[in-house]
Amino acid sequence: MKPLSYVRAGTAREAIDAFVAAGDGARYIAGGTNLYDLMKLGIERPAHLIDIADLEGADRIDTDGDRLFFGGAALMANVAEDPVVSRDYLVLAESLSKAASQQLRNMATVGGNLLQRTRCPYFRNGVNGTYPCNKREPGSGCAALGGLDRSQAVLGASEACNAVSPGDWPVALMAMDATIELQGRDGTRVIPISELYRPPSQTPHLEFTIGREEIVTGIAVPKTAAGRNSVYLKVRDRESYAFALVSAAVALEMDGDRVGQAHVALGGVATVPWRARAAEAFLRGRTLDREGALAAATAAFADARAGRHNAFKIELGARTLADALITAGSKSQ
């Protein structure tokens, strides 16, 4: 790790000014659970850190209006345990409480978590040139393609990269049509969460559409009755404290005993948080039984492509999503 300067900003404006003044090598740091980790691995090499974890009002959680609003610096643990979120939006609460450990959830922010980088072992390892990685060193190649790809993506991969988007919270937000509030030099803009993530295509090192000096100042989720019929089901290599092999975020707007609008997204299987529109379309107007749930889930993986060791994720993904659909559906009865 190179020497670096550290400054704690009080407001977003102050942070942006400090960022611009610091020039090249400036990075925002919030909880630091991902950035500091990657700095220790030599993958991130900032020269100037502007701490945005304590921006005035940025830890706000507001569930009063027609939407849920989470300040970018709200802690994962606090959002997970918010009374309204944990009662009416279980898919959101569970996506947070099943991530990492309570220690890390006490540090990490819901804004920073949107920008968590992949756990691809070829990316995280070998910063010294052991393993080629197009994400870490553009143009160097991808060792995961044709390599040990058990944990790699089956959806959204390109010829340059098949690294999985690692988050749980972004998957739940994707299902729930969240919007992201970004503040930059020229003011504030709001984008749908789906526009935050870039598929790897030929430029896997470009992961997010957020501008360099922009800050995630808030996340908004439209209120919906579907939140009460929701679940985040996460399957991993151990019972806790692990990233997803497969996860499914499901929230169902029911019309009697039939599905109205289904909200479905997948994690652990794709290069970006993956909205499963095909499954949603399949479910519309149907009653939920095991067979239908599995058919919808299978539709979600229609475009999946397996590598050498990750074909099981297609079958496991479908079964996990089917289980999640049944669980969410059972809540409406």
């Binding site: 670096l4 500091y36 220790k40």
Partner: protein
């Protein structure tokens, strides 16, 4: 928790580049003596890189020093303040051995930059036993033999106390889930769950 630290403006100061091996003294450092009762405190080491002043409370006592801005809170506690109860097991937030409380909440001190402690309260394993003896969680760990080699134990106990205070110790299943951020390679998990069940009624929720 409103933005209680918003008023602090913490900035690094660029030092003159030091010649290799030159020893300088810490300016204005106050080393707490808690936890050092049985040992000679380490001499303050010269800081390199860009330093940042950090002023905080650790186990109820004030501490202030200029520290390399790259340093973790864990390396601040262990290598600068001689508070070696918190342990390094992975240095990447993957084992929990470094768990301490910051402003009353459990965190991984290895993934917390030292500078983030500025203006805050930090509690380590050295700071939880009362004057009249062990903390109930420490006693419960002894009673249920919730440890073997003892290396992960300070982190387990700090996590366990927080687990109870958070209200996450109401069932064995919940305890297991909320203690899964602390790996015990000796495999004392059954004892750890039993210890927390014993101590929980004696610890107030926050």
């Amino acid at each position: 928790m409103p933005n209680s630290q918003g008023k602090h403006r913490l900035e690094t100061t660029r030092r003159r580049v030091l010649k290799a091996g030159t020893i300088i003294s810490l300016s204005g450092a106050m080393l707490p003596t808690t936890g050092l009762a049985q040992q000679a405190g380490p001499q303050p080491s010269p800081e390199n890189g860009v330093t940042v002043p950090v002023s905080f409370r650790v186990n109820g006592r004030p501490a202030a020093l200029d520290i390399d801005a790259r340093a973790s809170l864990l390396d601040l506690l262990r290598e600068r303040l001689g508070l070696v109860g918190a342990k390094k097991g992975c240095d990447h937030g993957q084992c929990g051995a470094c768990t301490v409380h910051m402003n009353g909440r459990r965190i991984a001190s290895c993934l917390t930059m030292a500078a983030k402690a500025h203006g805050r309260d930090v509690t380590t394993i050295e700071g939880i036993a009362g004057a009249d003896g062990l903390h109930p969680m420490q006693q419960a760990f002894i009673d249920h033999d919730a440890l073997q080699c003892g290396y992960c134990t300070p982190g387990q106990i700090m996590a366990a106390i927080a687990c109870v205070k958070e209200g996450h110790a109401t069932t064995p299943e919940q305890i297991k889930e909320y203690m899964s951020g602390n790996i015990c390679r000796c495999g004392a998990y059954v004892g750890i769950v039993a210890a927390i069940e014993q101590a929980a009624p004696q610890i107030e929720r926050s």
